[in-house]
């Protein structure tokens, strides 16, 4: 116990990130279930308005800041040193600081539920001046601001660590152009974190100053400007979207390559597209503000459209990796195929809302709710579970049960689509997001009923996943170094790996060192 609390080992830190993000995932999932219980029927009063506002605020906040982004950071913590042949991260104590700041920050945000007045209830985007109203709101909003600042600082520290580790700690033979795609995606992600998160920290501090120290950053009566809040928040918030998807793009590339028994197709294109997405993502923030009438819509619309191109390149590369391969449909591979199918829908609806005339209808409606759940849920979350199945043997030395895993994947995919497809239509029928209830007009009752049924299916699938974890850990079937036939360096060490990762560093002479060894390719020491 003390050993885990005081560790600076990247694998233990990564594991603790993963376990704690799964804890936050369960909390956010319960909140999602409460939302769908309330919205299952029109004019529902099961959950009071104020409680409902806290629930959707905390669901979004937890999924974004405490699950999807930090899970990727935890996974990267575990994987990057293994993938590049390093003994640990460059700054192990900084790494531990990051972990604990994250956990404390997350618990701080959730502590709002224990205060008088409840948790933050201004939406995950926390728009000022709504978030600056101190009358009638308790300490929940302040805990949100402080907690997110802590997790933000945690992300910044860890991103510095990733960049330095990747640049300086690669093993002999591991050139930049031999690094696995996941590691490359984490370079782009880390740079985005360093660009975006300081802005979040600043804007959280500004709201705190306005609330308690007589500041007027966002108060027009005193020369402040509420539009400034939106600019600052989305200057962080849009890169954040890509911070939550780029690592998972990498995961998907690794898994598809492994189970197609082929190298990643278009490796160079994959790397360039990651940086193209990262670069463009810094110039699209105001597409969240098309309806404010305060920004240049054509400019931000144009840049947003352009992001479709590097994302399309990635699709070509994933499909190209499968093309003429020898595909084994294991659970992680099935989840990656689900990722492709879901994320495509998120991408297509994304191009739609990049068009201001369409956004005038879709913005702040359930169409947008559908859109971002297809990217972050159907995309990132499916890849998150694919990563769990794929790397579970490496992290814990135990392989998850495949039969239960496939049931989980099927139920999750069905439940996800039953939940979120109706939301797009609900949005076009006039359902605004964040409504605590809705009238019985048009097809809203039917569409919302379907969504709630889908959520019940998702809940069953998630329970099945945790049952799978318990059953598999109890059975403890031994796995060797490499249960999947992976190609990158981490599959050449034991599962779980020894303290400093490699007892003897394997030769690295190509992008696929594990396949070189497995297939007995002549390894010249030239």
């Amino acid at each position: 116990m003390i050993e885990w609390l005081t560790t600076t080992n990247h694998k233990k830190i990564g594991t603790m990130y993963i376990v704690s993000t799964l804890g936050f995932f369960c909390a956010a999932g319960v909140l999602a279930a409460l939302i769908r219980i309330q919205l299952a029927q029109p004019n529902s009063t099961i959950i009071g308005t104020h409680a409902y506002n806290q629930i959707f605020t905390m669901h979004g906040t937890a999924m974004i800041f405490l699950v999807i982004a930090p899970f990727a950071i935890g996974l990267a913590n575990f994987l990057i040193p293994l993938q590049i042949g390093a003994p640990d991260m460059a700054f192990p104590r900084l790494n531990a600081t990051g972990l604990w700041l994250f956990i404390i920050g997350g618990l701080t945000v959730f502590a709002g539920f224990a205060t008088y007045g409840g948790a933050a209830s201004a939406g995950w985007s926390n728009y000022a001046p709504l978030s600056e109203i101190t009358i009638g709101t308790g300490a929940g909003e302040d805990l949100y601001l402080v907690g997110l600042t802590l997790t933000g600082i945690s992300n910044i520290l860890t991103a510095v660590n990733f960049v330095v580790t990747i640049v300086c700690f690669r093993a002999p033979g591991m050139t930049f152009w031999r690094m696995p795609i996941f590691t490359w995606e984490m370079v782009a992600t880390s740079i985005l974190i360093l660009m975006a998160f300081p802005t979040l920290t600043a804007v959280m501090a500004m709201v705190l100053i306005d609330r308690h120290m007589g500041g007027h950053f966002f108060d027009p009566a005193q020369g402040g400007n509420p539009i400034l809040y939106q600019h600052l928040f989305w200057f962080f918030g849009h890169p954040e979207v890509y911070i939550m998807i780029l690592p998972y793009f990498g995961v998907v590339a690794e898994i598809i390559a492994t189970f197609s028994r082929k190298p990643v197709f278009g490796y160079v294109g994959m790397v360039i597209s990651a940086f193209a997405i990262a670069g463009l993502s810094l110039g699209v923030w105001a597409h969240h503000m098309f309806t404010t009438g305060a920004v240049s819509n054509p400019f931000f619309s144009g840049i947003s459209f352009l992001i479709a191109i590097p994302t399309g390149v990635k699709f070509v590369n994933w499909i190209g990796t499968m093309w003429k391969g020898s595909i084994e449909l294991t659970t992680p591979m099935i989840l990656c195929v689900c990722f492709l199918l879901n994320f495509l829908l998120g991408g297509i609806t994304g191009v739609m809302v990049a068009s201001p005339p369409l956004d005038y209808m879709a913005h702040d409606s359930y169409f947008i709710v559908q859109h971002f759940h297809y990217t972050l849920g159907g995309g990132s979350l499916f890849a998150l579970f694919a990563a769990l199945f794929f790397y579970f043997p490496k992290i814990f030395g135990v392989k998850l049960d495949e039969r239960l895993g496939k049931w989980f994947a099927a139920l999750f995919f069905i439940g996800f689509n039953v939940t979120f497809i109706p939301m797009g239509f609900a949005g076009l029928e006039g359902m605004a997001r964040r409504m605590s209830t809705y009238p019985d007009v048009a097809h809203l009752a039917l569409l919302n009923g379907l969504s709630s049924i889908g959520t019940a299916i998702i809940a069953v699938s998630v329970v099945l996943f945790f049952v799978n974890v318990l059953v598999s850990v109890r059975n403890r079937e031994p796995v060797g170094n490499d249960p999947w036939g992976g190609y990158s360096l981490e599959w050449l060490t034991s599962s779980p790996p020894p303290e400093f990762n490699f007892d003897e560093l394997p030769p690295i002479r190509s992008k696929m060192p594990a396949w070189d060894v497995a297939e007995g390719r002549e390894v010249s020491r030239s």
């Binding site: 506002n53 490796y267 399309g312 190209g320 199918l341 005038y360 605004a432």
Partner: protein, 216 residues
Amino acid sequence: MKWLFDPASVQGVAMAGDWYVFIVAGIAVGIYVYVAILWCVFRYRRRGGEAQRFEKNTPLELTYTIVPLLIVLGLFAKTFLVERPVDNVASDPQEKVAVTAFRWSWQFSYLGSNVKTIGTPRRPPTLYLPLGRLVEFDLTTADVNHSFWVPAFLFKRDAIPGMTNVFDITPSRTGTFVGRCAQYCGLDHAYMTFAVQVVPAAAFDRYIASNGTAVP
């Protein structure tokens, strides 16, 4: 075409047209990529055969960069052409309505008259609009951010403290439509609704002339 949308304004008809273009393009691209993904999964399932280990195909990759570029350029052009007239504010509107959003209802006052309607969350106000006349809206808020959304007009615009947002709508069809606040604004956000009733111009004129007593 009344499939999916049934716009009730001139601007809404133009924007619905834009929606259909994007939906058709989206379905076409979607089917193409879906087929490619599922074809790979089923055609190349492991049956003892060896994988072909090619790593790249530069002409193919360039094609799949340039073709999407052309598609989004086309969509961008279409978007731009639709957006310009929608965003444009005429200098000579036929009617003017000042809309003030507040937590959690709306106030509508018809400029050049004494007619003013104020709602409450449980008694939403009705906004009367004349059929076929160009109406200018001057949108403000008394407290936090709100958003004026009429789904039948396929349009919303945010009400932001410290600024007045101006836009035009020309109702093209009589009827009663739902309006609501789209920007989350706190406790009773879900109840911040209003009704929009588009009436023949003569009925609208009677309503204004009677100081709001001759309800159409």
